[in-house]
């Protein structure tokens, strides 16, 4: 019962955010990019529901327009990191030996850099645009996934059902895909949902350094970082995107947990 309500709340939050992103394509209250210097830093009111920013742009419009970019970047990044990390982690954990050692040396070297620094380095090559960010952050978070998957695989490959699969005559590839990969799903789901949050924030950090989605295009991350100097005089600049990020993360975490339980046959009523 509790599970179902959690899933419902999570689903509603994620659906709302997605709806915001879709809505912004056809309609926003104002043009999110139009400057209006006479209306700078107006607090929330009847004209601008969530106030205006330092250039007089409508925050609600920017929030709606930014939802798409933020979600797209975060979702793609998580996807890239999970796919790449799972593949490499599976290979390293399943085959062990020399492949594993070489891969892990590289992986641990990458882990030694803070994610942001690594992303910065990659972005120098790819350039500051949406897909550059996805690639950079995706690669930056891959080593964490590799470690997790490798560890899980190491413990799973000792299970007797993996050996049973070999005795049956399954090839290594089939064993890996049918018996090991599905059993990695639960920890991956947990990591994936929390990574979503890191990516939204990392994107804002990159914006802050001038390497995020280039202005004037809004994302929640760069709205948050451009609102930072006004935190005392015009707090609404930071509050609106902050609340949006927090609620999205909450929704995704709840949904992720529900999904994990739903995918786990052990949670099925007998």
């Amino acid at each position: 019962m509790k599970l179902r309500t959690n899933a419902l709340i999570g689903g509603l939050l994620v659906a709302t955010v997605t709806a915001m992103a879709l809505l912004s394509v056809i309609w926003t209250p104002y043009n999110p990019l139009r400057l209006n210097l006479r209306m700078r830093l107006k607090p929330p009111g009847s004209l601008h529901w969530l106030g205006t920013d330092e250039f007089g742009r409508d925050i609600l419009s920017r929030l709606l327009a930014g939802a798409g970019a933020s979600l797209l970047v975060a979702a793609l990044t998580v996807l890239v990191a999970l796919l790449l990390g799972t593949l490499l982690g599976l290979i390293a954990g399943y085959f062990r030996g020399r492949i594993d050692r070489v891969m892990m040396v590289f992986n641990d070297a990458l882990l030694a850099f803070p994610g942001i620094l690594l992303a910065l380095g990659i972005m120098v090559v790819t350039g500051a645009n949406k897909y550059g960010i996805v690639l950079a952050l995706g690669l930056a978070y891959t080593p964490t996934v590799v470690r997790l998957v490798r560890g899980t695989v190491l413990s799973l490959r000792e299970k007797e059902y993996v050996e049973a699969s070999r005795v049956i005559g399954n090839s290594e590839l089939v064993t890996m895909l049918r018996h090991i990969l599905p059993n990695c799903a639960a920890p991956l789901m947990v990591l994936g949902t929390s990574m979503f949050g890191w990516v939204v924030l990392a994107e804002s950090a990159l914006s802050f350094l001038g390497l995020g989605v280039p202005p004037p295009a809004p994302t929640w991350g760069n709205m948050l970082s451009s609102g930072r100097p006004y935190i005392e005089s015009a707090a609404w600049l930071g509050i609106a995107p902050g609340v949006c990020i927090a609620l999205t993360l909450l929704g995704i975490n709840l949904l992720g947990d529900a999904l994990r339980d739903w995918l786990d046959p052990r949670m099925e009523p007998r």
């Binding site: 299970k159 059902y161 049956i168 052990r266």
Partner: protein, 570 residues
């Protein structure tokens, strides 16, 4: 000391005849429920006098472990005591404040758990763990605690007590860990020892060793024992009285010898009937060229890596020759580390050989091309020891059993379904194909594993301790099923076990292994009645089988009940 303690104890009604003075532990109408309201124990009552050994016997799910834990007030949070009283050394366990309870634990009642591999803290030296309790409860200086710990380790027959104190638990075998655990508990001189399946996870040899030490130790110190077990042979040898539980209900209780010799209840009789019995009625195996043959086989485990060198490889199997004819069941018996499982795996090509060769149907196994290797692999199957880790938790039973059919001749969907349904029916699991493994009991899971191994009609099955993780009654059922299927399908079988008694029911021939070599082999009658090697004799003794005896405990066919025991219950 005794009289002083007794003086503090309130009068408690007596129930067992023959108990002297007020009992040390008195349980009256103990009722436990799970949080969801399912009954776990329904009003069981028993007494343990000072120095007495009481066995709580039952299958898994009978609530025997929970009864032991309730005495220590160590019930898991989802289990609640809803009725009855437990009086331990004059204290009502239910109403005692936590502080008082803590002083009872360890000093008045100590507990030994089932799983020796996880009951010692791997990050602390044995010495630190031994002294911890002693210093906590008796507030004696570290040096004195150390001396007593060393003395106790010597008493549980640890060869090098001083060295043991400084070692970490991972260097010890299961049997040694269980003895260390026992030392840890007995160090505090408890008046009651609760032993929860203390030897179930051990092989037959260490099992006997640990039980013997436990019996000696408690007898000399006058410690009472609450022995929780599913093994009636332990009851026969070590318990004074016994209480039989079935799904939370008290079925029968009384003096151990009395109950085992003249069981009043049908359930107790069925437990006794589940004890392994020798079967000489098996038809002789036809003389035929062997289906598989090991010639001088050696298997090595790589030595540990050091920074710049590698230690020498260790031979787990050393020069073993063995042949199995079609339809023959060869049981390989030995203690842990004897190389029996390794040999089984090497036989079907799961491990590389360090020497010798395996011949399959007269040809070197898998040496001819791809097709040959494939045929060899498809003709051999394996049943694993642990039914809890041998089934993929994310697949349905039907899919698990069907998977081997992916190889071999292609089948239509309907044919596959029919094969799977027929196989499930054969192992007695009709209609469970849609379930997931977690919804099945241990015995049912092992049936699934057997179905998976047999569905492709293999020529050879390696069964690696297929029943040792199961209860006695379930063991019996699974073994009977296995024997039936073997007679029906006529596959050859390499049956690995640490318990001689267990294999006497299924084997045509027994091979005894010790330290990677075969020390003795022969027919069941040869091994049981005329054992040649000392190691074989030790194994027989550990299985509580005297030479020439048909079974450790046997009930006459007419059901009147008779007890044929090597050593009487003392």
């Amino acid at each position: 000391m005794n009289s002083r303690m007794n003086a503090r104890m309130p009068a408690v009604p007596q129930s067992l005849p023959g108990g002297q003075g007020a009992p040390l532990l008195s349980v009256r109408g103990l009722t436990l429920r799970s949080a969801a309201g399912t009954p776990i124990l329904n009003g069981i009552s028993f007494d343990i006098a000072q120095g007495e050994v009481l066995a709580l016997v039952g299958e898994s799910g009978s609530g025997k472990t929970m009864a032991g834990r309730a005495v220590m007030r160590l019930l898991p949070s989802q289990v609640r005591q809803t009725g009855g009283t437990i009086t331990l050394a004059g204290h009502d366990v239910a109403t005692l404040p936590d502080r008082g309870m803590r002083s009872l634990r360890g000093q008045v009642a100590g507990m030994v758990f089932q799983e020796p591999m996880v009951s010692l803290n791997p990050a602390m030296t044995v010495g630190a763990q031994l002294c911890e309790g002693l210093m906590l409860h008796e507030k004696i200086p570290a040096q004195a605690a150390r001396e007593r710990a060393v003395a106790m380790l010597a008493r549980v027959q640890i060869a090098d007590p001083e060295g043991c104190m400084a070692s970490y638990p991972h260097v010890f075998s299961g049997g040694m860990r269980q003895r260390i655990m026992l030392a840890c508990v007995m160090l505090l001189k408890p008046r009651l020892l609760i032993a929860d399946e203390p030897t179930t996870a051990l092989d037959a040899l260490s099992q006997r060793e640990v039980m013997q030490i436990m019996a000696d130790l408690t007898r000399t110190s006058g410690t009472a024992v609450l022995l929780v077990t599913h093994d009636l042979q332990l009851v026969a040898h070590y318990a004074d009285s016994v209480l039989v539980l079935k799904r939370g209900d008290q079925v029968e209780s009384g003096r151990a010898g009395e109950v085992l010799r003249n069981p009043r209840e049908a359930y107790t009789r069925s437990l006794i009937a589940a004890l392994p019995r020798r079967d000489d009625s098996r038809p002789a195996v036809a003389d035929a060229p062997p289906v598989i043959e090991a010639r001088n086989v050696a298997v090595a485990y790589p030595g540990a890596h050091r920074l710049f060198s590698r230690q020498a490889d260790k031979l787990a199997v050393d020069g073993v020759s063995l042949a199995i004819r079609p339809g023959e069941v060869v049981a390989v018996v030995g203690g842990s580390g004897s190389g029996k499982t390794t040999l089984g795996r090497a036989l079907i090509g799961l491990l590389p050989l360090a020497g010798g060769e395996i011949r399959f149907r007269g040809q070197p196994a898998g040496s001819g091309g791809r097709q040959d290797r494939r045929d060899f692999r498809l003709a051999c199957q394996m049943v694993f020891q642990d039914p809890y880790s041998s089934l993929d938790p994310r697949q349905r039973i039907g899919d698990i059993v069907a998977e081997p059919l992916n190889h071999g001749e292609p089948l239509t969907r309907a044919q596959r379904r029919a094969r799977v349904d027929a196989m499930l029916a054969e192992v007695g699991l009709d209609g469970l194909g849609e379930r997931y493994p977690h919804a099945l009991s241990g015995g049912q899971r092992q049936r699934v594993a057997i179905a998976r191994a047999l569905i492709r009609r293999p020529a050879l099955v390696v069964a690696d301790e297929p029943v040792s993780a199961l209860d006695m009654t379930i063991q019996k059922q699974v073994l009977t099923l296995f024997r039936q299927l073997q007679a029906q399908h006529g596959f050859a079988c390499f049956f690995v076990s640490h318990n001689l008694a267990a294999v006497s029911e299924v084997a045509d021939r027994i091979v005894v292994m010790h330290q990677g070599r075969i020390v003795e082999q022969g027919s069941v009658a040869d091994i049981f009645d005329r054992p040649q090697h000392d190691y074989t004799r030790a194994l027989l003794e550990a299985a509580y089988v005297a030479p020439g005896q048909r079974a450790p405990l046997s009930v006459a066919e007419d059901g009147a009940g008779s007890l044929a025991l090597g050593a009487a219950a003392s």
